[in-house]
Subunit: 219 residues, 2 copies
DNA sequence: ACCTGAACACCGTTCAAGT
DNA sequence: ACCTGAACACCGTTCAAGT
């Protein structure tokens, strides 16, 4: 045996593109997490020399941020029902959903909101809804910030748990609710008292928190 | 010249400890960010072989998480004025302050709340305040989650900006307010309308958001 | 008992060379 | 024009050896 696995066909010329590289990178990241992604792994999956990627992305970080922008964009159209409260709920629920579909990318999204092009469209839409609901500019701005950070923080923590489960049991594993309060809880009486609720379904928790914030805004 | 910089004294035996390693690691991280931290860098700063660290921490990650736990603990005592609303504000303001004092560690803290020992004491205290304010368990749990995620998300974004400024201008640079909305804002009318407010002082924004949430809780 | 240093299996990125 | 491959300067971690 001369070569373990000879490359059967030389990679044709016009094969590579930002599109293809991002699609492939997203596959790698969804399967093995950001930690499992490397330029060499990307090259291997495309049967291409790792350094060929540098023709389309200046650095690995630029590629990861393009991935994060995709996550923020999501696939669903922004809601326009005419009811600002319902549309706001839906907008942020969409953001949460997209983050949970790519849980391992959540930390990267959180490292740079809301800078990317995709984020700006979403930001503009949400602020429009808040103004439509009658909030003055300053209050709309604060409210947007509050809702965004709440959603990102919440989704990241849920995503962290989902990502850990995937790492253990593979991509289609059923995700169990967070427990992990453990033995030390007896030393923390208040914690123990609400433990069942803390471990509860995070989707419900997310929507309850959203209700809390929207009520405070009288929306 | 035989050796560029000969080690004058052999490192004495009992020198290393978790304490010393964490202190030194925190220095490195505060100066150069998490990206500038490596086992080799830690070894170099202590004039010690990098692999000696493995006697005290099983992995680099375990060391970083111990650092994150320190950040969550903070240096200030938890507030006990008897006024739950004031104490809640102070508790989360302390958490924000500690995150901003070590801005580059914020992403690591966010990757695993509230698991560490230090976090549990803070969690227990905050939930105690919410129950003291009269909230039933389920609502106290939701409220805590909301406040925590809000604070973490807010602080991380502010920390991200601070960290970027430090990387550019050194550890004592004055941090300018976030602007960065740029030319594209004209394509997003709602964004442009509130741009001044979005760029405003983040400390004030944080407290306004906190007020919003606490009001919703009728605290 | 505690620290060292060589070694292993990786990284991101650059750049001259091939086709 | 686009892709390759050798090379550079790094990583985290293991383990046998030194003191």
């Amino acid at each position: 045996m001369e070569t373990a696995q000879p490359r059967h066909t030389r990679t044709p010329r016009g094969t590579l593109s930002r599109q293809l590289l991002l699609d492939t990178a997203m596959e790698i990241v969804d399967i093995g997490g950001v930690g499992g992604f490397s330029m060499r792994a990307l090259g291997a999956r495309l049967n291409i020399d790792p350094t060929a990627v540098y023709r389309h992305f200046r650095t690995k970080n630029e590629l990861l941020e393009a991935l994060a922008d995709r996550v923020v964009r999501g696939d669903e159209p922004l809601p326009h029902t005419g009811d600002p409260r319902a549309d706001l709920r839906e907008t942020f629920a969409q953001l949460r959903g997209s983050l949970l579909r790519h849980p391992t990318l959540a930390p990267i999204v959180l490292r740079r909101p809301p800078g990317g092009e995709a984020s700006w469209e979403r930001t503009n839409h949400a602020i429009g809804l808040l103004r439509q609901a009658g909030l003055p500019d300053r209050q709309a701005s604060d409210a947007y910030t509050t809702l965004l950070f709440y959603t990102l923080g919440h989704a990241l923590t849920e995503a962290r748990h989902t990502a850990a489960t995937i790492a253990r049991k593979g991509p289609d594993a059923t995700v169990t609710p967070i427990t992990a309060i453990g033995s030390s809880a007896s030393r923390y009486p208040h914690l123990a008292a609400v433990a069942d609720h803390l471990a509860a379904d995070m989707r419900e928790q997310f929507h309850d928190g959203l209700t809390l914030i929207l009520s405070a805004l009288a929306i």
